[in-house]
Symmetry: C2
Subunit: 367 residues, 2 copies
Amino acid sequence: MEELNPSLRLLMGPGPSNVSYRVLRAMSTPLLGHLDPQFMAIMDEVCQMLRELFQTQNRMTFPVSGTGSAGLEAALVNLLEPGDTAVVCVHGVFGQRLSEVARRAGASVVNVEAPWGQPIDVQELIETLKKHPQAKLCAIVQAETSTGVLQPLKELGAFMRGGETLLVVDAVTSLGGVPVEVDAWGIDVCYSGTQKCLSVPPGLAPITFSPKALEAVNRRRTKVQSWYLDVTLLQKYWGSERVYHHTAPISMIYALREGLRIIHEEGLEARFARHRQLSERLAQGLAGLGFGFFAQEGHRLPPLTSVYPPREDLVEPLRKKLLSEHGIEVGGGLGAYAGKIWRIGLMGETCQPQNVAILLDALGREL
Amino acid sequence: MEELNPSLRLLMGPGPSNVSYRVLRAMSTPLLGHLDPQFMAIMDEVCQMLRELFQTQNRMTFPVSGTGSAGLEAALVNLLEPGDTAVVCVHGVFGQRLSEVARRAGASVVNVEAPWGQPIDVQELIETLKKHPQAKLCAIVQAETSTGVLQPLKELGAFMRGGETLLVVDAVTSLGGVPVEVDAWGIDVCYSGTQKCLSVPPGLAPITFSPKALEAVNRRRTKVQSWYLDVTLLQKYWGSERVYHHTAPISMIYALREGLRIIHEEGLEARFARHRQLSERLAQGLAGLGFGFFAQEGHRLPPLTSVYPPREDLVEPLRKKLLSEHGIEVGGGLGAYAGKIWRIGLMGETCQPQNVAILLDALGREL
């Protein structure tokens, strides 16, 4: 078998995004052991930078040793026990996934739905929450990767603040690309993935638990169904006790540390502005080429633009040609929108003016 | 925050082991997307090399997107449902972990125990299995990382072959260092970790499911409690359908591919002989320095030597000094053996004559 020699790709799909040479270089650093005092200092640095990114003071803020979907599962299985009620917002694949994982955790699930491409109606959601005051949690996707919709959260958080129900937010495609203000918005558990706007390879899921969420975990009548994702055990390793739980993915933590360092050098406001401005530039260019927009205007997610290509018969052939002849990856639609839409990512390192130009140039030549 | 600049370590603990520059270099390769046809070819190559390593024809052989403990959990939660009986062998921390995870999956657990440092008595285990012919599975650790004991499996596999009960084997610290013959020994589910004898950073858990194990999964009355680890969904991504499940940890898969390439260049027999011969050399040197052996003679695990240092008051101070002054990491004891024993790894890349010499020289100077 030959040495690894993949083609270079411009990753403009729904993730992974392009990764900085600095992150790739950090990943190739020789390893420390997972209980080495030097590694523990690195863990603390990563947790502190994650707190700044999530805009939270939550002590229990750390990367789960799995991809974003492991973060989703960690959020739900730590909070839910058989018999609990979970209100879950479904307006795309990741809402469906939240609903499915909540059911597998034994919860009675109340779905609040919106058509794909539209945000959840917050007033309708609040009415549902009023009907289920005993619900253990309300889970909602801030950035639906399947539709490119950005869900407003402030009003929801303000309504839920002070109540018993915990607010769980999926920030997989938003964290590092648009504001995610965990403390200010009253979010109790928020998780993300590394391969989107953080531009770190997939493999870790940053997550944060509020003190209120941890109290709920501590009041459980049953053990967390997943030993691997059990935050009561994980906090003994990521916290001050440093009790061995599982072997941390050292090289991925190195990568995340460097990715976070890059984000903090740029600054959150500048980073959010970059995503906003370049997504507007991309949208203008796409509109000029005859693309239509899938996500409802006013709720479009800067890091991920979902579009109808000008001709439906070209949707999949042109997407494949972009990859094979131009080395550009854009994402296809999921579920009922497979073969109908594209999802174009401008996340983290990928979100650069030259990449917008490269894509628009390639599309101009092909159309 | 400064650029990452950890001290160089000689990793002679219970894992992670040292990683080849070839693997580190592969990890720093720019990323493909997780649905890119080139990445799918890489996935197929990794699965095929894993089959050769596990010595199996099992189609469903792939790396779980988590560390070895995620592999353990994947093995059990896919097979067990509430009400099932699981016979679990406990002769160290990882047998305890199997027992705990089986209980969290709702199983009624029958433990078969042996003192730490000794193997499970296979005749006693077989008698227990005869009393529980309806047991869904029997789980056993081949290489107890907490004790350094190598568990014989052939006789157990021969007894279980043709029965209903599935044989689950933890090969975290054995795969790639000592023979693990999944098909010949009649193992139904076998999992490992990348950071031991494969000398790939922690973060993936190679696993294999026999057709009989997959049939048992397909006969479940309830869904697998973990969506993230559900092999019925994972086989649609790792198999020919290529249905998106979660975003694969691309860079870790690159690392695993290179680690497996190195193993296959060396050849399994040569690799096993290297681990056997150098662990004997290490043991002779340690005996000469006054170390005693913890694991029962005849059942010592070549990749991991567990020892009593010559003076108990030196156990932890000397271990810390080896790290801080010599850059050598050896592992401490777990549970009741914390502060009493050391666990010295000679796994994969770490298992080289010069490393044995470096450790013995440092110990000779310090004692």
